[in-house]
């Protein structure tokens, strides 16, 4: 790539989300807005290497895209006229004139465009789309990533991602998804969908589901950047800050959670000197913002998960962990978003805070036993508690059962080894 091409790519990354959001406000069609922005990019790639990069590249891109939009609308109007002459009904958007586009774009060039960007985020993460489509579209439209970059991150061929994006845009157009920020009750539902997409991207980086590498930190960076952008677009939403806090704190451990042989290192065994304390600090600050917005009892699952992660983040050594607080927070999380996995985690925290008997009392709940009947971590945790209470035979039986249920070979070996060591 030449220097100019690199520069153009960087400028497009910075400007394209705002440009697409602005165009979508006029065209009311995100797919078409992206194509117009793309056209402007292609023009830049043709002309800037010869004419030089303009002093204000952002304004240049807006102007170029605007001319494309006007061309497109005029062409559409000509077709509509021909259609009318042939006796067809005029199109719905016939009233849309090229002049209106000129007015709107001129007026709004320097407008704050927070709402439009947020609208773009909501469309890209719309629930009519599959997870794969939402992820690709969000990284492309809101993150400004190239199709090649997305493809590389997800270890799939570039044409696959390109197709995914084309199909997603068509689906949005077919479903007549409006370009707007949802209000009222719908906002909460749609916001959850947005946060889910960002966290999906993060987790694909944090615990990669494909490929030889166990983590792909660049995807974590992409998700964090999206999260931070979102936190500025929706500053009054505690769950947004909660998600950012959770991701910052989890990302702080990226370098510390892989052993020399590539195996994961568990949280309590990590060398905390290798944590990224800048990210921990940022995470704690984001959590403070979330807490300030949501009083206790009204805190959502991301805020609560972040609060739990923060307890570990505040402990310079594993032995300094405030387990009583973690146990209480798991209780609050279970109230906000009940799940057997949360209950299992609560049992671990209670065990650390109050001892194995208290953990066992939670683990022996028949409802939990039924819900996690096939999950190896339940007998594994229960086995640990029994071993600490000196009930060796029962502990060994639980660990052996856990080994039978484990699907990962490395985990199974570990469980067999633990059972054997009980003697």
């Amino acid at each position: 790539m030449t220097d100019t091409a690199r520069t153009i790519e960087a400028i497009y990354r910075i400007e394209s989300p705002k440009l697409i959001a602005r165009l979508a406000r006029i065209t009311r069609d995100v797919g078409q807005a992206e194509e117009l922005a793309q056209d402007a990019l292609v023009t830049a790639l043709e002309r800037w290497p010869i004419e030089g990069v303009p002093d204000n590249p952002a304004a240049w891109l807006v102007q170029t895209a605007k001319h494309r939009a006007i061309d497109l609308i005029r062409r559409r109007q000509r077709f509509d006229k021909i259609g009318e002459q042939l006796g067809h009904e005029p199109r719905e958007n016939e009233t849309e004139t090229a002049e209106r586009v000129i007015d709107q774009l001129d007026d709004r060039l320097d407008d704050p465009i927070g709402d439009e960007l947020l609208g773009l985020v909501f469309v890209a993460c719309h629930p009519v789309l599959s997870n794969e489509a939402r992820v690709a579209l969000t990284l492309r439209l809101v993150g400004g990533l190239t199709v090649e970059e997305i493809a590389k991150a997800f270890l799939v061929p570039a044409p696959t991602i390109a197709q995914r994006i084309v199909r997603a845009k068509k689906q949005l157009a077919d479903a007549n998804v409006p370009f707007e920020v949802p209000r009222g009750d719908e906002l909460a539902v749609r916001l959850a969908s947005v946060l889910e997409v960002v966290y999906l991207i993060f987790n694909e980086g944090y615990a990669a589901s494909a490929g030889a590498e166990w983590t792909r930190p660049e995807l974590c960076d992409d998700a964090l950047r999206l999260g931070r952008v979102l936190a500025e677009l929706a500053p009054n939403e505690p769950e947004v800050h909660g998600l950012v806090a959770l991701m910052e704190i989890q990302a702080s451990r990226l370098a510390a959670r892989i052993a020399p042989d590539g195996t994961p290192i568990l949280l309590l065994d990590q060398n905390r000197a290798r944590w990224d304390w800048l990210l921990v600090r940022r995470g704690l600050a984001a959590l403070d913002r979330a807490f300030a917005l949501a009083p206790p009892g009204s805190r959502g699952p991301y805020v609560m998960q972040a609060a739990i992660a923060a307890c570990h983040g505040r402990a310079r050594e594993a032995s300094a962990t405030d387990w009583a607080r973690i146990a209480a927070l798991y209780g609050e999380l279970a109230a906000a978003a009940p799940s057997p996995i949360v209950e299992l985690n609560r049992a671990v925290a209670v065990g650390m805070a109050e001892g194995p008997a208290a953990a066992l009392a939670i683990l022996d709940n028949p409802a939990l036993q039924r819900a996690l009947a096939d999950y190896h971590l339940l007998p594994s945790v229960r086995g640990d508690a029994l071993a600490k209470l000196g009930r060796v035979a029962e502990a060994r039986a639980e660990l052996e059962r856990a080994a039978e249920l484990a699907t990962n070979a490395r985990e199974r070996d570990l469980l067999v080894e633990r059972a054997r060591r009980l003697g």
Partner: protein, 139 residues
């Protein structure tokens, strides 16, 4: 990847004079843009070198030299830590920054990539080996 964006000092900034209100407002707006774009991780302005010191190493000898230091443009007046996709992106953002020392002839900002352990596979192995030894010794 992360970058350190280093704002170099000038003779004027070394005098310890406060920047103008106009300058502060412009920088404030720029910082806001950086936060909105999700790239800003950290930022700090540094006091003039008269409040600093240097320690010179020569074999076993350590010599402390108190500030201020001459050669203003070799000094740092402030820095940002950014997360960008590429050096080109960091360069584009710096181009949008208001001149940190308007009116000064040698106003300059330097962009440096922050090393990640993954940039040095051999260092990672070394770091992992050290970590392994540490882990073994504390068991």
């Amino acid at each position: 990847m992360r970058f350190m964006i280093i704002v170099k000092a000038t003779k004027e900034s070394e005098t310890g004079a406060n920047p103008s209100a106009e300058m502060l407002a412009k920088m404030g707006n720029f910082n806001e843009e950086l936060v909105k774009a999700g790239i800003m991780l950290d930022a700090a302005g540094l006091a003039s070198s008269s409040k600093g010191a240097r320690v010179r190493f020569s074999g076993a000898k350590r010599t402390v030299i108190d500030g201020p230091f001459t050669e203003a443009k070799e000094l740092v007046a402030g820095y940002w830590i950014w997360q960008c996709k590429s050096l080109a992106e960091a360069v584009e953002w710096v181009k949008r920054c208001p001149d940190p020392h308007p009116g000064s002839a040698d106003s300059e900002i330097e962009i440096r990539q922050i090393n990640d352990l993954s940039d040095f596979p051999e260092l990672v192995d070394e770091a992992r080996a050290i970590q392994g030894r540490l882990a073994a010794s504390t068991k």
